[in-house]
Amino acid sequence: MANLPVQGINALFSGGFIENEYVHFNKLSALVIDDISAMRHAVRSQLQSLGMNKVSVASNANDALELIKATAFDVIMCDYNLNSTSSGQHFLEYLRNENILNATSVFVMLTAEAEYSFVANAVEYIPDDYLLKPCSESKLRSRLERLIDRRAFLMPVLKALDAKQYDLAVTECNKLLDIAPDARRRMDVLRRKSDAQLALGDHLSVLETYAHAAAVRGDAPWVMMGLARTHYALGDFAQAAEMANMLVGKNKNYVAAYELLAKIRLEADDDEGAFELLNRSSVILPSARRFRSVAQAAFLLGKLEDAKSNAEAAIQLSNGSMVEKPDDYLSLAQTQVDMGDHKCAIETLEKNARKHGDVGLFGVAKGAILAQAYFDSGDHEKARKLMERSVSLLANRTDSVAMVALGKAALKTGDMVLGMKLLTQAVQVSGQDERIIARHVKKSMIDTGHADKVEDVIDGGRKRILLLVDEATKLMRSAHFTEANQKINEALGIHEENLEALMTAAQLHLLWLKHEGMDVRVVERAKAYLSTLDKLVPNNQKVMNFYRFFNDIVSN
């Protein structure tokens, strides 16, 4: 780094922009998102005077979303305070969750002073940089130069990530690690490498990457959080909790750590503890997603008042925005039914949720909850009609959430056979949500006076399958592939379409190929598992990642 004498006043006032020797702003495109027109145009003129020719503007998240989907912007400058219901942070969270934001796009959050400390404490969905607004052009220039410079170094990796070629991304990271000139660059690369390995589900390798990063800088929060998450994924809850607690000790607003601790509490069947941790994170960083988790945890604990207020908060915060979820109305209405308030439940679904219609799986669950409400109000005829409609609407589709609602309604309205059948199936098809669906099923049965049959309905061979999958996972992670395969085969023998067993089988075979080299039989089996999964859960992100991983391995 060279000493930089500051340009004198004449140099800065001399007009025109000073061309940077590395960053060619005239080749970059940008999007400015701000609801205040004066601010939007001010930032745009600053970017233009840096030399950017292609600067688009948007006054709200929805317009911005359309633009981002159509164009891969090099730079996105987003105001934190978009409008009363959605913030730049929500927008970023949405873009990352839906995989809309390119890895090659630099995302800069602009904030006012009052919001800054709140914003800078966000840990989970962090932008590439924060800028206190409005900032001078020279500050904007130096920040963007650094960001673009870092991006240029990472470019081969970012391109591979955008193409979802995660194995290639790892290879590119390794090349860059050999030439990274300093600790900061090395950490940048290691972070992307861990992202790619996580996308591949390769926990064995990601641990090595974190260890490497910890050797460069052990106290970097993302390294600690990554380690905590990996320990959790590997089933080492004690170590995961220790790491997460260390993070919380350093920063009491570290929401992601609270959320991981909540998951660990759940594993220990400490629902109360999990609820409190989730509640705390929703207070620190309110979002519709967090209110939803709190509402669900409260509902399962029978804390109906808390469930209600959090479901209402989720609806209020997301209403009219892109993170809106019609299911929030279902949770609220089911809670209201359980509180004995059938009037409000009917109003929630028939009036407030009207815009979401009553077809599809939403219609199935909506009809089922309405049936419960009308049944409670004494209108059994209406309840019966609603049930009939929902059953025919469900047809032979399998969806856990709709089936739980319908199963509960059937039990409540006296159709034992249908209720038991639906709830049993709900657990069987629940795949990765098995744990949470099982809890809902259990609660539905207890609420309707069938506590004695919980075990039969929930189990249906499930416990044995889970146990076997668990054992297989442990064997797989210690690289005992043949032994792991035996366990998986046994699990699939009980229920050949059990998603958890199939996912583990696919992952096992991919790691097998990666670590032990090519073997035709293993390749064939991997292919078969992937195609079964593709049929059962089409377009599943995880399965698609498996496919890419598989193609990378086979093509090498």
Binding site: I9, Q46, S117, E137
Partner: protein, 222 residues
């Protein structure tokens, strides 16, 4: 400003001022901008800096500053501070000649374990150091050096100017007085407030061989 209306008005003024600053900044890119346009830009910057400093100190007095701790690369931070310093940019108008402001790499000492990264509120610290730089630039003859020194539990920022020679305590005293009454510098008070907000920080202004040294110490978080 406990009155919500006053708070609203003040922030409205600050935002309007900031927009004005951007307009003037863009105007000043033109070669044919008249002298008055350049002066207006300078005044606008001074006014905004004064308002932001005042608001920061006011917040410190009322409810205490709550620093937003973020991870900062210290060398980059100093480099950017120097490069974007508005005081440095405007030095010529005070002196009639240029003052060279250096990010002094020779003196920068990253701690081996922390690797030159620190946790602090970069906006608050930038505000404080900019005010120290403003002061240094005013009294410098030719040159100001800026650097950091990092120890296990402490980050030290230094601003050295070649203004006051050895033993010229009179000038130092004068400067301290000017610091208190100066219309632009809410200076040391602001620096002290910022250092204090980061735990047990401290601020010191002393006469050293060949100049005057400003030192701000922050206790490293951890």
């Amino acid at each position: 400003m406990q009155n919500p209306l006053s708070a609203l008005v003040i922030h409205d003024i600050k935002n309007a001022l900031s927009l004005l600053e951007i307009d003037l900044e863009q105007l000043n890119h033109r070669k044919d901008t008249p002298l008055e346009g350049r002066r207006a830009y300078r005044r606008c910057i001074e006014l905004k800096t004064r308002l932001v400093s005042f608001l920061t100190l006011y917040k410190h007095d009322q409810s205490g500053l709550q620093p937003a701790m973020v991870e900062v690369d210290l060398a980059e931070f100093i480099e950017d501070l120097v490069r974007n310093s508005q005081s440095a940019m405007m030095a010529e108008s005070h002196h009639g000649h240029q003052i060279v402001v250096h990010a002094d790499n020779e003196r920068m000492k990253p701690d081996s374990a922390a690797g030159g990264f620190g946790m602090f509120d970069e906006n608050l610290v930038e505000l404080a150091l900019e005010s120290a730089l403003n002061n240094a630039v005013r009294y410098a003859h030719r040159r100001v050096d800026v650097w950091f020194e990092q120890e296990a539990d402490e980050i030290v920022f230094r601003v050295l100017d070649d203004g006051a020679g050895v033993g010229e305590l009179g000038e130092l005293m004068q400067r301290k007085i000017a610091e208190k009454s100066s219309s632009t510098g809410l200076g040391l008070a602001l620096c002290k407030a910022v250092a204090g907000a980061h735990g047990s920080g401290s601020v010191r202004l002393e006469s050293v061989s060949g100049g005057t040294l400003f030192t701000m110490r922050l206790r490293a978080a951890g």
